[in-house]
């Protein structure tokens, strides 16, 4: 992890309310693992005050170019969307624990909801580079929220309103895969809203034999380096909680207390 002043190369709308930011990190830079994140100090004022976390959606280690996909949600992300090429951004990363690569011969199935798409695109690419044939299922409220140009061709789409792809959620996508009996010892990777991950995890545990599930969680962060105990999630372990920023954001789904 390191603090760096990166230079924005592009910051563009890729779907309704969704942006892709591309920035160059000066040397010497650390290369993020897939599933890791960085934090950005957005603006220089006191509101927003805290740095905001975003997952890497790509990283070109030949020249230190990072990409992230983010949704305009509140104050900070609105302000971030006003950054332009050549602006500087103050970043801190790479942070946290990323995804574990599958064992050879496993079928990786990636399920992304909303802006959970960012790290999943990065993971998809990495898996392909390692010779896997991952399946990517992406869900969103409706077609215009999906940055489809960024998706691999074979991406399976689901929307709540059926405006593109299947009508339903990524779970429906997973279920239909099962009916095509693709899934033996599958390795599921989930990133998206908490309730989506919860539903998919619980379903897969009771419906897929020996599924193993990696989830990438979100939690409000203070320090993002493990110091403040602010970003915890409940786990099945006597200590009760784990810190998303440094023990995650990627966890084995079995560890999480999904209550």
């Amino acid at each position: 992890m390191q603090t760096k002043t990166a230079k924005v190369l592009a910051n563009e709308v890729v779907a309704s309310g969704v942006y892709k930011l591309v920035a160059r990190v000066p040397e010497p830079f650390e290369i993020p693992q897939v599933g890791q994140f960085l934090t950005i100090r957005i603006g220089e004022g006191i509101a927003p005050l805290l740095r905001r976390p975003f997952a890497y959606s790509n990283f070109d280690s030949s020249n230190g170019t990072l990409e992230l996909i983010y949704e305009k949600r509140g104050n900070a992300t609105s302000l971030l969307s006003s950054y332009q090429a050549n602006d500087s951004i103050d970043i801190l990363g790479p942070l946290g624990k990323g995804f574990t690569m599958p064992a050879n011969g496993t079928l990786p199935v990636l399920l992304a909801g909303g802006v959970g798409i960012g790290p999943m695109l990065f993971l998809y690419q990495e898996l392909v580079n390692h010779g896997f044939k991952p399946i990517l299922i992406v869900g969103a409220r409706s077609a215009e929220r999906l940055p489809r140009e960024l998706f691999p061709k074979a991406t399976i789409l689901y929307t709540d309103d059926g405006s593109i792809g299947g009508k339903g959620t990524v779970l429906d996508g997973l279920i239909s895969l099962k009916s095509r009996s693709l899934l033996n010892h599958p390795l599921l990777y989930l990133c998206g809203p908490h309730v989506m991950m919860r539903v998919v995890y619980l379903w897969s545990k009771s419906n897929l034999s020996k599924a193993s599930v990696q989830v990438s969680l979100e939690q409000t962060m203070g320090c993002a380096v493990g110091a403040c105990m602010g970003c915890v999630v409940k786990i099945h372990h006597q200590k009760g909680f784990a810190r998303v920023c440094c023990e995650g954001p990627v966890f084995d789904g079995d560890l999480i207390n999904w209550e």
């Binding site: 603090t3 509101a47 939690q219 915890v232």
Partner: protein, 307 residues
Amino acid sequence: MAKTFDLRVKIGSLTLSNPVGVASGTFGYGSEYEQLIPVDQIGAIYTKAVTLEPRSGNEIPRIVETPGGLLNSIGLANVGSREFALSKYPFLKGLKCSVIVNLAGSYEDDYVKTLDYLEEHAALDGYEINVSCPNVKCGGMAIGTDPSMVQKLTERLRTRTQKPLIVKLSPNVTDIAAIAMAAQDGGADAVSCINTVVGMLIDTKSKRPILPMSTGGLSGPAIFPIALAAVWKVSRAISIPVIGMGGITEPDHAIQFLLAGADAIQTGTINFVDPLMSLKVLEGIRAFMDKEGLTRVADFHQFLPRS
């Protein structure tokens, strides 16, 4: 023609190399920030609160942003004194900078037992007695808002250690100077102020308080003027050193604390935003002293004498 400044600050028997510390709960146990800042150059690290037994802390969410501030409800989540001695102490002991353990508990006895345990198994440079945490059901602020309880607790701890005892004051009182005097009367070597201010946010979508215990502790830029007023008042009521904190985001704020009567300061929430700010503050203090011809930290007090 670089002048030499004497940046040292004495707290009881301890000499800090400079007046800038990092506040409890915002710098973990030091190692978390090792890659981001040359930790040894900081004047003092105040650890996350240590309690006798481990505490998992409060439910989530624990952190939420407010206008210009941060509201937290960590609930003294910490590894407990035994694990602290085992896994945190070795790193901290190896540091060149001073390390002060922030001590917390529910009842007076907890503080005493924790101090005894640490004295024996994980002796560092001093103790900051946290009687001002607003995020726990008992202990914490319940003690820190009552002068007689503060005095009694300080007296008991005083008999058990030679190390500096720093009592951390709560701003959530009618008369913070009275609490400071109680700490001084009890034998404290210094007071630090302020801990967080009680605050609250409600989510108008769910129509519930955002934090699990309804209220939390407010820190960050929003509270700076409140903290400065507290340090000003406390400095005029007692003669032991005062360590100022609350809302520092730039060197000028730290200088204001020193002018108000503080002998040292701590950066807190801003460490999350800019992990290097403590050392930037130190640099700013040095530059100010240079410009103004001050040579010792005590020189800051000549303009607005403490008494």
